[in-house]
């Protein structure tokens, strides 16, 4: 099915953020029972659960605004790659624990700033969802930042691995702060967040953490974009094939 996301810019905003959380939940879901110790399996599951919880609230709100056939699960389970508007960062594969940590860290910094701003949204319902999400993101950031430090300033091997992970995902961080044109009105009305304005604070937190972790900020200025307009890396298609398999195989069934 096609969900009419363009008819309502707020729907577009809600779905975009929900897509981020859904896709990262899916990646973390792949990793449950694969973490280096039981405490981390628990933490990974916990973070994944928070992400899907926020996604459900956002999709639910979007579906109400969208009307018609739109529903939480239709957004998640019945849209194609080109219709997903998640950032490229969250669809990147787990690779190893260092990649899970680095990807999570950059995303967590972004989300704490995003939800902090959206919790002051003039749209009360969005503000409520954001306030809850902010609390969770703060906890996620504390966790991922602690691991950035442990891995960066741990052993030679952990340092090498986490630096490699930072280098690998760095090019997907810029997109998080690229404003979506359709949002300008929402930002002007105080509903949406001015994501570009969050970048200096992101840089400050990231630089301070990398320095403390004895890691180097990648010098390559190249930044990939496209996720917000449905131009994804090839990873997303496989992720969706797995996530949507049941709904695609048994159309119309109730679970």
């Amino acid at each position: 099915m096609t969900v009419a996301t363009t008819t309502n810019t707020l729907v577009g905003l809600l779905v975009r953020h929900a897509d981020d959380n859904t896709i990262l939940c899916q990646r973390l879901g792949e990793y449950v029972s694969g973490a280096p110790e039981l405490e981390e399996d628990l933490a990974v599951a916990n973070v994944a659960l928070d992400h899907v919880g926020v996604a459900m609230h956002l999709y639910e709100y979007a579906a109400e605004l969208d009307g018609g056939e739109a529903s939480m699960d239709n957004y998640a389970m019945l849209r194609s790659e080109r219709e997903f508007t998640n950032a490229l960062l969250v669809e990147q594969p787990n690779v190893d624990f260092a990649h899970v940590v680095a990807r999570g860290f950059f995303f967590d910094v972004y989300q704490t700033l995003l939800w902090a701003q959206l919790s002051a949204s003039t749209d009360e319902r969005l503000a409520g969802i954001a306030a809850r999400a902010f609390k969770e993101a703060t906890y996620h950031l504390r966790h991922s930042r602690a691991w950035m430090l442990r891995l960066g300033d741990g052993t030679a091997e952990s340092h090498r691995r986490v630096q490699a992970a930072v280098d690998a995902v760095w090019r997907f961080t810029g997109e998080l702060f690229v404003a979506v044109d359709a949002d300008s009105e929402l930002v002007a009305e105080g509903i949406g967040a001015d994501v570009a304005a969050l970048k200096p604070e992101f840089d400050r937190i990231v630089d301070a953490t990398l320095e403390e972790a004895t890691l180097v900020r990648p010098s390559d200025p190249y930044q990939a974009t496209g996720g917000r307009s449905g131009m994804h890396t090839e990873h997303l298609g496989h992720l969706l094939a797995e996530m949507q398999w049941m709904q695609r195989t048994y159309p119309g069934a109730t679970w």
Binding site: G29, V32, A35, P36, L38, A45, M56, M77, R150, G154
Partner: protein
Amino acid sequence: MAVEHQVQFDRTIEADEKIEPRDWMPDGYRSTLIRQIAQHAHSEVIGMQPEANWITRAPTLLRKAILIAKVQDEAGHGLYLYSATETLGISRDELQEMLHSGRQKYSSIFNYPTLSWADIGAIGWLVDGAAIVNQIMLQGTSYGPYSRAMVRICKEESFHARQGYAILMALAKGTDEQKAMLQDAIDRWWWPSLMMFGPHDSDSTHTEQSMEWKIKRISNDDLRQMYVDQTVPQAHYLGCSVPDPDLHFDEESGHWNFGAIDWDEFWTVVKGNGPMNRERINHKTKVWDDGAWVREAAVAYAEKQASRSTKIA
């Protein structure tokens, strides 16, 4: 001295009071508990695998969220039970090593594969349901830390069993394909879940001594009968049958009589030749080995921090 200790221990058991970690206990009591609680902890952890197998394919976001929460609970139960085992003077690393080398076991039920979404419901309803019957009994076990762990774990397990049954109810009300999926899952999980209670009392090597020590309060066969009695009507309520042609209700005793258990299958799986034994342990050891550098980094970082704070002080 040893005699006084034994008398005190016997009195505590006799009075239905709890043995605590600092109390004297017979070596056999300690080793039995280590074996049993560790096996329970390992089962929670290995049991994460067949369920995590469906996290990425859960049919709706809500089902996905509930399943993640359940697997997270199991990791928590594992941690809690490892802590209870550590009170008996053995380390988590040693327990982990014994699991990987096959010297300690986990519940054989997790050596069966989860082949459809219905299996996630069947694990919640049948497997966690069987675990609850056993664990309710273990709330009254004589070792304090184990008993208290069971009280806490039982609460969460009953939520798991309910969510499992809810998954199956949705299938029972669904399409023909969903109903077939449901019946197939029951057909595959029924007998293995009956085997979860272990060998017949007459063949159980540990039962008699464990009952005397009040580690175990109800025998394998009695627990199994309780389980069958509560579960058969639930299967019928789903509009399903259980794969046992000999099953019938005995009006006189008020119990469901069931057919002979295939003990050859039971021992085959216990001895390592079930459908998924190798995969479960291989996954566990691979993850553990792959994560060595992470655990080493955490230790190295903690040591650096400690030496830094010493220098500052």
